[in-house]
C-alpha cells in the first residue's frame, strides 16, 4: 500500500515538474497569441 501512495505522489510531482503553468501545449500557444494581440491592441489604443 505504501508503494502505491508513493507512486501517486510522484505522479503529482511529475505534473509539477513540467515547465509550464498550462495544462497543454496548445493552451499555452493560444494564451501567447491572446497576450500578443492584447498588447498590440493596447499599443494601438494608447498611441493612435
Amino acid at each position: 500500500m505504501a508503494e502505491e501512495k508513493a507512486t501517486t505522489e510522484d505522479q503529482k510531482k511529475m505534473e509539477e515538474r513540467s515547465l509550464s503553468v498550462f495544462a497543454s501545449e496548445k493552451k499555452e500557444d493560444i494564451t501567447a497569441l491572446i497576450i500578443a494581440f492584447v498588447l498590440a491592441a493596447l499599443v494601438i489604443i494608447t498611441l493612435k
Binding site: S18, L19, S20, V21, F22, E25, K26, E28, D29, I30, T31, A32, L33, I35, A36, F37, L39, A40, V43, I44, T46, L47, K48
Partner: protein, 531 residues
C-alpha cells in the same frame, strides 16, 4: 503547505519594483543629479530612465496588488490562481533581474571595457558581446546551478516559455512582405538541405558505429531539426528507451549551449552581417530558444538579426513533422524484418506536432500588413518604414540635388528607369513613392564616388520614419525576450548536461560541429548583401 501559501514574497518584490520606479521618478523631476540618477549618468543609461520608470511602475503596481491578494486570500486552487497569482513572485524576480542585467551590469561592463581598452589593447565587452541578453542567460545558469531556484520562484520561471512565444508572435508584426518572401525562400532552401542532410548523415553514421536504431533515430531528429523537442517527438515513433532519451537530451543541450556562446564572437571576428549571422544561427544552432538567444546576443539593440534567425527557426520547426514521419518509415523498415508491423498514425503526428504559435506568428503578420500598427501614410518597405508625405525636412539638400543633376548630365546613369526616378527626385526634391526607393538606391551602382553614393542613401533615409507604435511594440517585445531568456538560462542545469554519454555523445558532438562549421561557410561565403 498552508504557511507557504501565505507568503509575502510577491508583495515584497512588487513593492521593491514600485519603490525603485518612484525613487527614479522623483529624482528625475527634482533634477537632483544624485544617487541613482548620478549612477545612470556614470553608466550612460540616462536615456533609458523613461522606460525604467514606466515598466517599474506598471509591473510594480500589478505585482503588488497580486501580492496583497496572495497575502489576504491564500487559496491557490483555481485555474486563475495557478496561471496568474502563483507565478507572480517569480515573474517579479525575473523582471528585477532584467533591470539588473540591462541597466546596471551591461552598462557597467561597457564602461569597464572602455577603461581597460588602453591597457589591454582591446575592448573585452564588445569582443565577447557581453550584453544584457548574454549576461541574463549566464546569470540564470549560474543561479540555477549554485543556489537553485527557490520554491516561490518556480511557477514564475515556468512562464518563461510563454514569454518567448508571445515575443515571437509579436515579432510577426515587424516583417514586410518583401522581407518575408526573400527570407522564406532562403530559409526553405537552407533548412531543407541541412535538415535532411543532417538526418540522413546521422542515420548513416549510426549504422556505421553500430548504435541501436532507436538511439540513432532520436539523434537524427534532434541534430537535424530542432534539438531536444524534436528528439523527444521522435522518441515514441522509433520506440526509444529512456536511456536513449536521456543521452540525447543531455547531448543536444550541451551542443546548443556551446554553440550559443561560440557563434556570436566567431561571427563578430569574421565580420558577418545580420543576414549571414541570422541564417547561420538559424541553421547551425539546435534549439529554438537558443537560436533567438544567439541572434540577440549578436545584436541586442536592433532586431534585424533576430528577424532573419526566427524565420529560419520557424521554417525548421515546420519541418519537424516530416522528419518524424521519415523516421517512422525508416524505423518501420528495419522493424518489419524483426518483429512484424509498427503502427504509426502519420496524420496524428502531423496534427499533434504542428506548432500553433507559428500560426499566431503568421496571423500577426497578416494583421500588421493591413496597416493597423502604422499611422496613416506610413508604409513598410524592405526593412524600414517610409512616409512619402511632402515635407521640407525630407528634402534633399540643394547642393546634393545639383550633384545628382551633374551626374545624370555626364551620362553615367545608363538605366532608363533609374534615370527617370532620379529626374523625379530632382523635380520633387524628395522621394515620393515606394517604387522610387530601389531605383534611387540602385543609382549608387553608377558612381564610384563614396560621397555621391551617400547622397542617394541620404535621400532614402530622409523619407524613412520610425512609427511610435512600432517602437513601443519592439520595446515590449525585447522585454519579453529578455525575460524568456533569463528563464532559459535557469533551465540549463548541469544535471541534465551530465546525462550526455557514450557513443551518442560522440556522434552528437561530431555531427553538431560538422553542421555548425558547414553552415558557417555556406552562410559566410554564399549569402551576400542584405535584405
Amino acid at each position: 503547505m498552508n504557511e507557504e501559501k501565505r507568503s509575502p514574497v510577491t508583495l515584497i518584490i512588487g513593492l521593491i519594483l514600485l519603490a525603485y520606479a518612484l525613487v527614479l521618478r522623483s529624482q528625475n523631476a527634482a533634477l537632483a543629479p544624485e544617487g541613482l540618477v548620478a549612477l545612470a549618468d556614470f553608466l550612460k543609461t540616462g536615456k533609458t530612465l523613461g522606460t525604467q520608470i514606466s515598466v517599474g511602475l506598471w509591473s510594480g503596481i500589478i505585482i503588488s496588488v497580486v501580492g496583497i491578494w496572495n497575502l489576504a486570500m491564500p487559496s491557490m486552487t483555481s485555474k486563475f490562481d495557478k496561471l496568474v497569482r502563483a507565478p507572480m513572485a517569480g515573474i517579479g524576480m525575473i523582471i528585477a533581474l532584467c533591470y539588473i542585467t540591462r541597466f546596471y551590469m551591461e552598462p557597467l561592463i561597457k564602461v569597464w571595457g572602455k577603461q581597460a581598452q588602453p591597457a589591454l589593447g582591446w575592448d573585452f565587452s564588445s569582443i565577447f558581446g557581453l550584453n544584457y541578453i548574454l549576461l541574463g542567460i549566464i546569470l540564470g545558469i549560474v543561479w540555477v546551478n549554485t543556489i537553485g531556484i527557490p520554491a516561490w520562484m518556480q511557477a514564475g520561471v515556468k512562464t518563461a516559455r510563454l514569454a518567448m512565444k508571445t515575443a515571437v508572435i509579436t515579432l510577426g508584426t515587424m516583417y514586410s512582405i518583401t522581407e518575408l518572401k526573400y527570407l522564406g525562400g532562403l530559409s526553405i532552401l537552407m533548412v531543407a538541405s541541412f535538415v535532411m542532410g543532417t538526418a540522413i548523415f546521422v542515420l548513416w553514421l549510426g549504422k556505421l558505429a553500430q548504435i541501436p536504431r532507436p538511439l540513432t533515430g532520436v539523434l537524427a531528429a534532434g541534430l537535424g531539426v530542432c534539438g531536444v523537442s524534436a528528439a523527444v517527438a521522435a522518441a515514441p515513433v522509433v520506440k526509444a528507451r529512456g536511456v536513449d532519451m536521456a543521452y540525447s537530451i543531455g547531448m543536444l543541450l550541451l551542443v546548443g549551449v556551446v554553440g550559443l556562446f561560440i557563434f556570436p564572437p566567431v561571427a563578430k571576428m569574421v565580420g558577418m552581417n545580420e543576414l549571414q549571422f541570422g541564417a547561420w544561427a538559424g541553421t547551425g544552432i539546435l534549439n529554438s530558444a537558443q537560436v533567438a538567444a544567439a541572434a540577440l546576443i549578436f545584436d541586442p539593440h536592433t532586431i534585424e538579426t533576430l528577424k532573419v534567425a526566427e524565420i529560419f527557426n520557424i521554417t525548421r520547426i515546420l519541418f519537424l513533422p516530416f522528419i518524424v514521419i521519415m523516421l517512422a518509415i525508416w524505423f518501420a523498415k528495419g522493424e518489419e524484418e524483426a518483429e512484424g508491423k509498427v503502427n504509426v498514425n502519420l496524420g496524428k503526428i502531423l496534427v499533434d506536432k504542428f506548432p500553433l504559435f507559428v500560426l499566431g506568428f503568421i496571423l500577426m503578420f497578416a494583421f500588421s500588413s493591413t496597416g493597423v500598427f502604422t499611422p496613416k501614410g506610413v508604409e513598410l518597405h524592405g526593412k524600414s518604414f517610409y512616409s512619402f508625405k511632402i515635407d521640407e525636412k525630407k528634402e534633399v539638400r540643394t547642393r546634393d540635388l545639383k550633384k545628382i543633376q551633374t551626374m545624370m548630365e555626364s551620362g553615367a546613369v545608363t538605366d532608363a528607369k533609374v534615370k527617370a526616378a532620379l529626374e523625379k527626385l530632382v523635380a520633387d526634391k524628395q522621394i515620393t513613392s515606394a517604387e522610387q526607393i530601389p531605383l534611387v538606391l540602385k543609382a549608387q551602382d553608377f558612381t564610384p564616388d563614396k560621397d555621391m553614393k551617400k547622397v542617394f542613401q541620404d535621400a532614402d533615409k530622409k523619407v524613412q520614419t520610425k512609427p511610435e507604435t512600432m517602437e513601443m511594440m519592439r520595446e515590449y517585445m525585447m522585454w519579453l525576450f529578455a525575460f524568456g531568456l533569463i528563464g532559459l538560462g535557469m533551465q540549463i542545469t548541469w544535471t541534465t548536461i551530465r546525462q550526455a554519454g557514450g557513443k551518442a555523445a560522440m556522434i552528437g558532438a561530431f555531427t553538431g560541429v560538422t553542421k555548425a562549421v558547414l553552415s558557417f561557410f555556406v552562410c559566410w561565403l554564399l549569402i551576400k548583401g542584405s535584405i
